[in-house]
Subunit: 347 residues, 2 copies
């Protein structure tokens, strides 16, 4: 273990940034110093770190001098601009935005799934999209037993995926509606209260959203298998915390529901939660605040020979973002990979 280990959290005042600080603290991450960085607007404010508080410093190109690991959660623009400077300072970046995910130089890592990919890192490691993380934590152990050929996924995503402002919008709209006031949309294009929006991130030329294509492309990259076919419909629902997913898969060989349960019962990061007769199945309210990815409603898909349906739920801010990023940082330490080979690679 390093005698001195300086960790920076970029975007420390946001929903995910705060969760990152809380996760670093609660997991006893062996940092000797934690720097909370954010835009100039937030500089000077304080954010909680355990029982303590950290004074937020302004993010600049020079913020990473002496920093060993920087965990970014401040949007794609900030990551694109500042991660190369961090690497230039010799700092390893774990980035939660989508900016570097499909860059061939950057491993895209879920520690339970493909920690080995960290060995080839070049200074920036990308944290996958929240919807992808929980799906692949549940699917990897099955893929290892019989390769998955196709995935059809529909998501039920919480407003916390949009950050504090998403949480605020849902809360405000509910209050407005319950007080007879016409609700206003400022964050989402339509009302989210008591509504479902099949629209997360921007629309692309193929009429899929960027969020949907993230689930396709990130799955191929993380599984290192371009043959897995994925099609996704991503939907924002009026839930504060935790994303739920209805996932239909087709495997090469038959896996029974019973076999799938046995596989998932001991899978890393998975909490098998599947006893329908007792009304036990994963729920957003069960997963919120938890580290595990909950899997249940496992049943054979009778419409094809080798199909399975399952219901996968995880705390999108935690395993979907902060926890996964901190777990990557932990793996970097464990595998002795906190070093940058070419400081100018991204400049």
């Amino acid at each position: 273990m390093k005698e001195k280990l300086v960790v920076a959290v970029v975007g420390a005042t946001g929903a995910v940034g705060r969760e990152m600080l809380s996760t670093l603290y609660s997991r006893n991450f062996p940092a000797t110093t934690i720097k909370a960085l954010a835009s100039s607007r937030s500089a000077g404010t304080r954010v909680p770190y355990g029982d303590d508080e950290l004074v937020v410093e302004e993010l600049t190109e020079n913020s990473f001098e002496g920093v060993d690991i920087a965990i970014f959660s401040a949007g794609g623009g900030t990551s694109t601009q500042f991660a190369p400077h961090a690497v230039k300072s010799g700092c390893v970046v774990v980035d939660n935005s989508s900016a570097w995910r499909m860059d061939e130089r950057c491993p895209l890592v879920i520690p339970e799934v493909n920690a080995h990919a960290l060995k080839k890192h070049n200074g920036i490691i990308a944290n996958p999209n929240c919807s992808t993380i929980q799906m692949l934590v549940a699917l990897k152990p099955i893929h290892d037993v019989s390769p998955i050929k196709r995935v059809v996924v529909s998501t039920y995503q919480a407003v916390s995926g949009t950050g504090q402002k998403g949480i605020q919008e849902l809360e405000t709209q509910v209050r407005q509606l319950f007080n007879g006031i016409e609700p206003e949309n400022t964050v989402y294009p339509h009302r989210i209260a008591f509504n479902c929006l099949p629209h997360i991130d921007v629309f692309l030329d193929n009429d899929y959203t960027k969020e949907e294509m993230k689930m396709v492309n990130e799955t191929n990259k993380i599984f290192e298998d371009p043959n897995i076919k994925v099609t996704a419909t991503c939907v924002r629902v009026p839930v504060f915390y935790s994303h739920s997913e209805a996932v239909n898969i087709e495997t090469e060989k038959k896996i029974t529901a019973k076999e799938a349960r046995a596989i998932l019962a001991t899978a890393p990061g998975v909490q098998l939660y599947d006893n329908p007769k007792e009304n036990m199945y994963p729920l957003a309210t069960v997963a919120a605040g938890e580290d595990a990815t909950f899997v249940g409603r496992i049943r054979e898909d009778e419409s094809i020979a080798n199909g399975l349906n399952m219901w996968i739920v995880a705390d999108n801010v935690r395993k979907g973002a902060a926890l996964n990023a901190v777990q990557i940082a932990e793996k970097l330490l464990e595998m002795d990979l906190v070093c940058v080979k070419d400081k100018n690679l991204f400049m």
Copy 2:
């Protein structure tokens, strides 16, 4: 047109029963008399019918003397018990429960899809499940162009599907949570406020819910095609009105998204609502109170050769229940089928 046409609404005080009365009125259904029937508990109360009110009468085995058409929406038990008595009185029953749907003697009808099946009716016509109705209104025109081989559907179903008590439970729980009170569950097995429950109707031996198997079995019966394979995940979401559905289909021949849009643009009962660049896609808030089934987010599924994804939304109380039942009654009149061949068939 009949000189005298007596129509009874059974379960007139429930959410769907009230919507049936409202639909009969607003569509100028040519009834000369409307009888509102309900359990003895509600007898004597009044329900609105246009600007007027009807006094609710107690449902008994003799309630159907002189009644031409009875529309039932009072649960499977009531339908099982009383529909045979209605038929025995010479009354044609349109039943909204699941009691008679899979009975070979009873056509299962969506007027836009299989009105022809009414010709073989024996006194009881079943109204399909709400989730099935809206899905098949959208899929039938595509199925007619190229047969659908497989459907993978995930639903986002409103609490009004559970009736007034579902609406009340969501509203109460939201108020409790916003007032710092621990919410109580009385209708659903878990909290529905800000949560998604992958559990609608009871669990069956194959670990699917009855709601999920309705979508499978009713699709086969309505399309008169046992070869269409359907797999469903049915989920209750914190929305008051309108069910949304993420539907993935595989057709025999390729249908492009553009072709699908052209087909659906002129399909009966369908409102094509698909312009993602303008943030235009079906929403629960758009469909609520409307007759049409809204279809959008149409895109080719790149994971298989002949696949399409779409997002289908309709008012579950209206097209999913009351409107479809009234449309069946209208078709019965139009096709001169308001008569019972064998009054004792169901006794």
